[in-house]
Amino acid sequence: MSALAVATGTRRGPSVPQRTARVLGRWTLPVFTAVAVGYLLLPIAVMIVFSFNDPPGKFNFVWAEFSLAAWANPIGRPGLALALQTSLTIAFVSTIAATALGTLIALALTRYRFRGHGATNLFIFIPMATPEIVLGASLLTLFVATAQEPFKSFIPAGVFFPLGWNTILIAHIMFNISYVVVTVRARIQGFDRHLEEAAMDLGANEWVTFWKVTFPLILPGILAAALLAFSLSIDDFIITNFASGLTNTFPVWIWGTIRNNMPPQVNVIGTIIFGTAVGLVLLSTLLQRRGSARA
């Protein structure tokens, strides 16, 4: 803001064009920002509004009339409840697994110097630089191959193929690991190693130091990584679609169902997810504020 204050300082007698330019200069960015934010929020608004629609046919595309019917029966579509349950359990399990695996890698990368350090960094980066469709397609190629020789003889049917719950979980853990590593690594890089050294000086061994000092310090990073992993998992469609077979997650269910009918329930669930996420963020912000106010 300081630059702005200087620029709009107290020079006298600006000409009209100059004044126009200045007004423009002052308002262009805020107006642009408002429009851009509106652009970002527009589809969400449409989603919420259309959750109250009562479409005449099977497709909730054109506004007809206000109705609370879908809200009264939010999971009243065949397969929807099961798909939501699958999404939540897979997101939960894959988050825990990926966060554990990823945090260990992040610790190794930030606290140790070892041969292959750079290569590991690159290796972690590559899955994130690979388009989702390639990740999904390659996994499918592997899973399908397990149903044929030579894999068939030692991999029992049902582990990787036919596709289903297992394969979705495998895929989600896989694409989440890198994101966890990067998030946790950023946090560890940011903290003061002297705290650990001090603890060691005071006689704590490595194990105790880790749990008493290091872990609490990097915990916010781990939680942030877990949150990211959870949201990536629950919203993933492209990779999941390759790995899901007959098992539906919520996005896969939407994809399948919108071709035949698009019930307002899709919007209701979307709105509930949105509301829950926003609520959680607000809650955590409030808690943080209260925490920092007390400190």
Partner: protein, 290 residues
């Protein structure tokens, strides 16, 4: 115990990394090796696939699906450019003029992530539909376009969808890199250069390049491989490589063609990233500094 740890200290990082790296090895590296093999094979599900070094999968398909590759590169590129054009001023405003609204604005920018991206894309289908609110205003009220004008099914709709979907991926890294810039540098620049534009061009913009680089990659890579936007918002002429890969894998069981296309896509992205990194002179690719 302590002595043991000291003696094998060198092994600790490897032990820590082993499970995660093993997971990636089995479910990222092996599948890609398998897909590479598949891309050089011929056959069908019924007859089985035989590895024949069938390079024709690459040479034929890059020609045959040239239009799809072209669509992917153009749409992905345009989406990246538009994300930059919208995201930079947005990030700039939040970083430098956000004031007390900074957190609120950031929150609004990431709020699309709080709901399913499929639902958001469907919302665009509603908005841009022939009977949707957008055309109702532009066509029926403002009469800016002819009566049989459609947005859906066109490249415009696909690029708009991609731009929308990935805008936060551009805005956030830009914001982070802008936020990091030392304000006194900018003030000094404002004193030094005649115009604020000059100051921006010579100081702020160069200092934010890492954000531009990160943001562009975060947009371009998923955008070039996307197929959902082209499927829901596009038409037969706007099909991207992702649509072909998806259809060949899941709807036609034509694995060799799909695998070859996936690798060509990967190669194109890799070349793109390297060229871009050289152009910007940024080498923070992996971001890992121990």
């Amino acid at each position: 115990m302590g002595r043991l740890i000291k003696r094998y200290r060198w092994a600790i990082p490897y032990v820590l990394m082993a499970p995660g790296i093993a997971w990636l090895a089995v479910f990222f590296v092996v599948p890609n090796v398998r897909m590479l093999q598949m891309s050089l094979s011929e056959g069908s599900v019924e007859r089985g696939f035989t590895f024949t070094w069938d390079v024709a999968n690459y040479t034929d398909n890059v020609v045959r699906f040239g239009e799809n590759f072209q669509n992917s590169v153009i749409f992905g590129g345009l989406a990246t450019v538009f994300c930059f054009l919208v995201g930079y001023p947005l990030a700039y405003t939040i970083a430098f003029r956000g004031g007390r609204y900074k957190n609120l604005l950031l929150f609004l920018v990431i709020s699309p992530f709080f709901t399913s991206f499929l639902i958001r894309t469907i919302s665009w289908k509603i908005i841009l539909g022939d009977d949707g609110p957008f055309l109702e205003i532009v066509r029926d009220i403002l009469h800016l376009v002819p009566t049989n004008f459609s947005v859906l099914g066109s490249a415009v709709a696909v690029v708009a969808g991609l731009t929308y979907e990935f805008l936060p991926f551009m805005t956030l890294p830009l914001y982070v890199s802008l936020e990091k810039i030392d304000r006194s540098l900018i003030e000094a620049a404002n004193d030094l250069y005649a115009s604020r534009w000059g100051a921006f061009r010579r100081v702020t913009l160069p200092l934010s390049l890492p954000g531009v680089f990160a943001g562009s990659l975060l947009v371009f890579i998923p955008a070039i491989g996307d197929y959902v936007n082209a499927e829901l918002l596009g038409g037969p002429k706007t099909q991207m490589v992702g649509n072909v890969i998806q259809a060949r894998f899941l709807a036609q069981n034509d694995y060799p063609t799909a695998a070859a296309l996936a690798f060509i896509l990967m190669a194109a992205i890799l070349v793109g990233i390297l060229a871009y990194a050289r152009l910007l002179g940024t080498e923070q690719l992996t971001g890992g500094r121990a």
